[in-house]
Structures are given as structure tokens and as C-alpha cells.
């Protein structure tokens, strides 16, 4: 009964467009009152859930990402990718996928990434003869894949929700992102031949070296993160601080195009985004507690029981739910509401927690770029200036490639587990 009351309040407020965090908060208050529990729990949870060392990585990664984007590092990555693969048929399209992989490393927020890549790449794509719907598809699919490339805020949050090491999760993401990227590149290659996409002239060695030199500053970061985590040199929080310092030095003393007031403005924006993310996590903690005591895990347990016989089937079922949740509610709210409820069932049937987290991260990434509601997709379409209806047909192959990549990650746990296991972070 309490479960029903809490959920009904949540859904009504959600449908009425109250921000999700307050819909969760208000329904949690209703649930606490209805079950006769003290409201004091709300106050203490809000503070204690946000007083968290691991989550401290969020403001620094967001700050670093926006600083690097403002300094124009995305442009140098685009140039490098074009010089590397632009001469192939459909090479520019493939370079979008390659750029998304590396750019995700320096950009904490998906929305910031879509807007950076959209503004940097869409004009070149159009000029090279790509239709707007193909351009939007490439950017959307590439960014969806980039969800798995660390440091993603989502990974920090899901590691916290499922009580896993953020570093293990970061390391686990590199290979699955590559797998999805490879699926996307195959689609690009096929599309390029079918639609007759153009190719750039082959880059001379000097142009390639120049592009590499210009992109060296942002390219250091993935290597620092991968190497540092692999060797166990530092924690996610420490990596965040180091990357923030690196971004600051690069923007201020190498690129020299970011003023002090812009630095402060970016730190303010990082503060607002941090507040939004961690407050959501904190409020959802109370909501989850209520769901927990009112029998929601048992309910989901029954719902998913038919899938529990096969791990891949179970993971596929949960991934579909997460994908749909992610499409409707955005990734983070989906993570804090749905994942804590299904996670215990996953561990019970023997799914490795890190594998589970990686599959959910990939599903949320795809959900954000799934028509007709995925908010990331809507943003990518804004750059292409087309509607969902005009775009959807061109997007189908990319969506299928993303889903094929997701299935590969689900069916082969080693893709996710190899790196953290060989680094000794998991068993």
C-alpha cells in the first residue's frame, strides 16, 4: 500500500513536469509520513549521502572537461581524426566515431559533448556532402558509445549506487566502448559505399604530425587515466584533481584563450551540475530505502524471475528496462531509481557487478540517444535542424549497431572484466 502511494505520487508529479528530484523527494516525504517513519531521516540522508569522497571526483572532472572544451581542444581532436582516417571512403564519418571516443575522455557531460561535437563537426559533414540526418546519426551514435569511455559522471554514480570501485569501472569501460565503436565503424563503411560518401585526400605525413602535435595536449589525458588506474597509482578522486589542474594549466598557459572570469564561470557551472547530480543521488537514497522496505525488490524479483535462468537473458531484460528508463528519464535518474532495485538480483544469479554496471552504462548511453524521447538525440537533431520524424529512418542502422554492440558486451563478460582483472582490481 505504501509502495503504491509512493509510486503513484512520484508518477503524477513526474508527468506534471515537476523536476524529477523533487518528484522523488515529495513522494519520499509522503511515503515516510504514511509509514510512520521519522522525517528526520530525510535531513540526515541529504547531508550524509552528499558528504562522499568518491563523488568529489564529479566537480573536478566536470570543471576540467568544460575548461578543455572552452579552450578548443575538441577542434584539434577532430583535425587529428580526419588526418588519420579521413582518406577512407566515409572516413569523415568514421572520424566522428574516433573523436567521440577520445573526446568523451575529456568531457564529463553528454550534453556538453553533443553540443561541442555538433558545433565542431556538423558544418564539416554538411560541407563534405553528408545529409543532415546522417550527420546527426553519426554524432548521436558516437556520443552514445562515448558513455562507456571514462571519466563519465554516470560511471562514478553507478559505482557508488552498486558499491563498486570507480577505478575498476573506469578501466572496464575502455574495451566495450571500442567494441561498440567497431560496430559503428562497420555501419559507416557500409553506408559510405551505399550512399557514395566522399573521401578526403590522403593526409601528408607532415599534416598528420602537425595534427598529432596539436592534439597531444588533450590526448595525454586518456593515457594518464588508463595508465594511472591500471598501475593503481591513484584513485578516481585524485585523478579528477590532477586532470583539473592539467586542464587549467593547458588552457591558461598553453592555449591562452580562457580568461580568469571564464575560469570562475566554469567552476560555478561545475558547481551547479554537481549539485544537480549529487542532490538527485541523495534524495533518491531515501526513495530507494522506502522502496526497499515496501517490497519493491521482491516485486521486481518476481517480474524478472523468468529471465533469471540465463545470465545473458537477465542482463538483456534489465538493459532494455534501463534503456527505456534512460530514454524517458535521462540516465542518472534511471540509475538511481531502477538499478539499486535490480542489482541484488543480478549478483544473486552470479552476474559480475562490474559487468552489470558496464552493461547498464551502455544501455543508458543508448537510451539517451533513442528516438523519440532520448534527450541527447533531440539535442543532436537541433544541430542538424531536422525533426525526429525526418531523422529516424537514417538512424536505424546506427541504432542497430549500438544494440549489436550492447549484445556483444552482454554475451562476452570478458570485454568488461579483462582490464580491471588484469590490473588486479577485481577477481
Amino acid at each position: 500500500m505504501i509502495l503504491l502511494l509512493t509510486l503513484v505520487t512520484f508518477v503524477i508529479l513526474l508527468v506534471l513536469s515537476l523536476p524529477i528530484v523533487f518528484a522523488l523527494g515529495a513522494s519520499a516525504v509522503v511515503g515516510l509520513l504514511a509509514s510512520g517513519l521519522p522525517l528526520q531521516q530525510l535531513g540526515s540522508t541529504l547531508v550524509t549521502a552528499s558528504q562522499n569522497w568518491v563523488l568529489l571526483a564529479i566537480p573536478s572532472f566536470v570543471f576540467a572537461g568544460s575548461l578543455m572544451e572552452r579552450a578548443g581542444m575538441s577542434t584539434s581532436l577532430v583535425e587529428l581524426a580526419r588526418a588519420m582516417v579521413g582518406w577512407l571512403r566515409g572516413g569523415l564519418g568514421m572520424s566522428v566515431i574516433v573523436v567521440s571516443y577520445f573526446f568523451s575522455d575529456i568531457c564529463g557531460s553528454k550534453m556538453a559533448e553533443v553540443s561541442a561535437l555538433g558545433s565542431a563537426l556538423m558544418p564539416s559533414l554538411k560541407k563534405a556532402g553528408y545529409r543532415p540526418e546522417d550527420g546527426a546519426s553519426l554524432i548521436a551514435a558516437g556520443t552514445a558509445m562515448g558513455m562507456l569511455v571514462p571519466p563519465a559522471i554516470f560511471m562514478i554514480v553507478i559505482s557508488e549506487v552498486t558499491n563498486q570501485s570507480a577505478v575498476a569501472l573506469f578501466l572496464a569501460g575502455f574495451i566495450p566502448a571500442g567494441i561498440i565503436g567497431a560496430c559503428l565503424c562497420l555501419v559507416v563503411l557500409a553506408q559510405a559505399h551505399i550512399l557514395g560518401w566522399p573521401r578526403d585526400t590522403r593526409a601528408s605525413l607532415s599534416r598528420l604530425l602537425l595534427a598529432l602535435k596539436n592534439a597531444a595536449v588533450p590526448l595525454v589525458i586518456p593515457f594518464v587515466i588508463l595508465g594511472g588506474f591500471y598501475m593503481g597509482a591513484f584513485t578516481a578522486t585524485e585523478a579528477g584533481a590532477i586532470v583539473a589542474l592539467y586542464a587549467f594549466i593547458a588552457a591558461k598557459f598553453y592555449y591562452r584563450n580562457v580568461s580568469w572570469s571564464e575560469v570562475f564561470e566554469l567552476s560555478y557551472q561545475a558547481g551547479v551540475l554537481t549539485g544537480v547530480v549529487i542532490y538527485l543521488l541523495a534524495v533518491a537514497t531515501i526513495f530507494q530505502y522506502l522502496l526497499g522496505i515496501s517490497g519493491a525488490p521482491e516485486f521486481f524479483g518476481h517480474l524478472l524471475a523468468p529471465l533469471e535462468g540465463e545470465r545473458w537473458l537477465f542482463l538483456t531484460g534489465v538493459a532494455v528496462m534501463t534503456l527505456l528508463f534512460g530514454m524517458v528519464l535521462e540516465g542518472l535518474p534511471a540509475a538511481v531509481v531502477l538499478i539499486p532495485v535490480v542489482f541484488p538480483i543480478a549478483t544473486k544469479i552470479g552476474v559480475h557487478p562490474v559487468h552489470f554496471d558496464i552493461v547498464q552504462t551502455a544501455a543508458v548511453g543508448i537510451g539517451l540517444f533513442t528516438p523519440p524521447l532520448g534527450v541527447g538525440l533531440l539535442m543532436a537533431l537541433r544541430f542538424a535542424d531536422i525533426s525526429v520524424g525526418q531523422h529516424v529512418r537514417a538512424y536505424v542502422p546506427y541504432l542497430l549497431a549500438l544494440l549489436a554492440g550492447l549484445m556483444l558486451i552482454i554475451c562476452v563478460p570478458e570485454f568488461s572484466l579483462f582490464l580491471p582483472r588484469s590490473a588486479g582490481l577485481i577477481r
Binding site: G271, T274, I278
Partner: protein, 168 residues
Amino acid sequence: MRFVLMLPRIILGSLVLFAIGVMLYGVLMRYVVLPVTDWLNLDPPDFFWVEEVGEMALAWLTLLGAAIAVKERSHFALSLFVHRLPRGGQAVVHVAHNLIIAAFGGLTAWLGYQLVLLNITLTTPALEINMGWLYGCAVAGGILMLLYALDAARRPHDPDHSFADVRE
């Protein structure tokens, strides 16, 4: 007056830079100074407070950031049909939203105040900071959220203060 209105913005931005600075200090101590003092057989540096201060800064960042996000309309919201309602209907929903948020902010501040009173005699382990300062973030954030939401509720026809079109 303008300075007072800018104050939360200044505090929030400074808190982010401060938290990053504290973390960098921790990194410097752990990876540079500690090995050196070890090597020279000197007393190790005391930087255990870094975690304590960093976490407290994050709690303040979160509660203040969440309040400011009400003003900036940065919280995630789902846009289904509210933006298609007639102007009057939208205004009613808008006022209702902000009153719920104001009530939630007020409740947070009140609960935070109770927690401050409850913990005011306790101190943190490393720096012995009064725990009241930690829970004070719920009071400050709650009050700020209440004020921003009430301010937004006063302007039902201002499109810049609606949550409903966030996704559009």
C-alpha cells in the same frame, strides 16, 4: 543588493575551486612530500584532514548547487504535455511546482536546523571542526531553495522560470 544576489554564485564557484585545491594538496602530500619525508626519516606530513574538508565542501556544494539549480532551471524534468496547456493552465502548474519546491526547501532547512542542534557538541576527528557546520549546509541550502522557488512562483508567466520545457 546586487552583491548579495551574486553571493551564492561566488560562494559556489569558490567552493569548487577550493575543493579541487584541497584534493591537489592531498595528492601533493601523498605522492611527493610523504616519500621525501620517508626517505629522509622525518615526521610524515599531516594531511588526513584533506578528506574531511573535501567531503564537507562537497556537502555544501551539493546543497547550495541544488538550490541554485532551482533558479537556473538545471534540474532534470520530463516534458510531456504541460508546455501544450493553455497559458493559464501552465501558470497554475508553474506556481504549484515552485510551491512544492519551496516546501521541500523549507522542510530541508528545518530538518537541517534540528540536526545542527543535535550535533553541535560533536567535532570532526582530524580538525575538530564543529559538526554543526556540516549540517548547516542543509539549513543554508534549504533556505536558499525556498527563496528561489518563492521568487519564481511570483512570476507565473515568465517562460524563463518554467521547468516544463527543459527537454524541448
